[in-house]
Symmetry: C2
Subunit: 251 residues, 2 copies
């Protein structure tokens, strides 16, 4: 079960339906994963849950499958957004993959003063978030927004969503104090290597909806800070608190 | 300050002392980092704290520096060990780097039933842990043990150190319940992709000193689980709780 192939299928799924898979997914199932006629795999449409599908027709570039059983009902993770400064390519890939595994609902690439890369490729980020959702068994696909500047994001902020920024200057709250009673909706902001500029910190500190958080005494790389912040929030106020009730996994 | 070069120097440091740097470090400082005569950098010996050093002699393969000022007194992070199953090369590198950033004292590569790699290179792991310590501004160097089998480790375990294993079968405690009052000394065990075998889980569940922990409802990759487990523990019972008192950073 744990090793069964799992795909995001970008068309609404329902029992007994026959689905035509895209050329890319047909190639992946038949040539890469070596599935044969009548073999089963898992599919989710990002809207109605997870299903078991069975291959009913198999050609090189054309594969059809029937939706035979519902495996998991639809659910979304807690309403947590991640605002992150794009870093080097591999680290950014990593941030997206980990954020999806850790249950982020919305990813917002955020350009700050010390952000080294402002060439963000939204399409690439979307593809990576889908791949990560397939792997971690999410039944929803997180939203990825095009990159925006920090000042633009902050000036249009919906103040009913508290924003927690990871403060490398060591003047924020300890994680435990910040996240122990910080229910969703919420947003976490992680800056680039080198942290926020003095002006950015000054701006953030003036905002009623923003709270600084310090991730301990050591210097963390940007991608470590993302994983740390999200894990701690999920553990203290997210869906790791009562995962047993929310989890329909069958293993 | 934050961008100053920082090196582990494997000889005891004391004020006013003249240090001869190794050929590799001399090359790094002069050719890679382009430091000149009288330039300053930071050094730590893993035993007595962090110092500022000034270059007093500069040749291609031979560099001398004087210890001119103490920057940080010696301190060790909380006594937390990480037992991890080596995975693919890049992921293992990543695990070591992140574990050091997150304040691990001892790293123990642990061979489990589903561990895909039993070729662990202790020397390589040591070099990586030193590099990570330099980068994250630790003043100590975590210990790296040679790889051992899980059964051997468990049969020789010092029972005064509780062991928390990340349980992918979703039968462990939620993180918040497990780590809210779990002071050091402590050890965290993260298995490979695919988790522990049934026999391993059965064994772990029988041990008085071992407690299962579940990292929420989604499937995490091995390296994500390492960062999540360590971050949550540091935030709840480690040195992220009262970092202000323990931190001597000057920024």
């Amino acid at each position: 079960m744990a090793s069964k192939v799992r795909l995001f299928i970008d068309t609404p799924l329902a029992l007994e339906q026959i689905i035509e898979l895209s050329e890319t997914q047909s190639h992946y199932l038949s040539n890469v994963m070596k599935l044969k006629l009548n073999d089963k795999f898992l599919g989710f449409d990002g809207k109605s849950g997870e299903y078991e599908l069975q291959i009913t027709q198999l050609a090189k570039k054309h594969l059809e499958a029937k939706v035979i059983q519902k495996q998991k009902s639809f659910q979304t993770p807690p309403d947590v957004w991640l605002l992150f400064a794009p870093v080097k390519k591999d680290q950014t890939d990593f941030i997206i993959q980990k954020a999806v595994e850790l249950g982020v609902c919305k990813l917002i690439p955020t350009i700050t003063r010390y952000t080294i890369s402002d060439k963000t490729k939204t399409e690439r980020f979307v593809a990576q978030s889908i791949e990560a959702a397939e792997q971690c068994r999410r039944v929803d696909i997180p939203q990825v927004l095009p990159a925006k500047s920090l000042s633009e994001i902050l000036s249009n902020w919906d103040k009913t969503r508290p924003l927690y920024y990871m403060d490398e200057s060591r003047t924020g709250l300890p994680v435990k104090d910040a996240f122990s009673a910080a229910p969703a909706p919420i947003a976490l902001l992680v800056g680039p290597e080198g942290g926020f500029s003095k002006e950015e910190l000054k701006l953030l500190r003036q905002l009623d909806f923003a709270t600084g958080v310090t991730l301990g005494p050591r210097i963390l790389r940007a991608e470590t800070a993302v994983v740390a912040a999200l894990s701690c929030w999920q553990a203290l106020s997210g869906d790791w608190v009562n995962y047993k009730e929310q989890n329909e996994c069958d293993f």
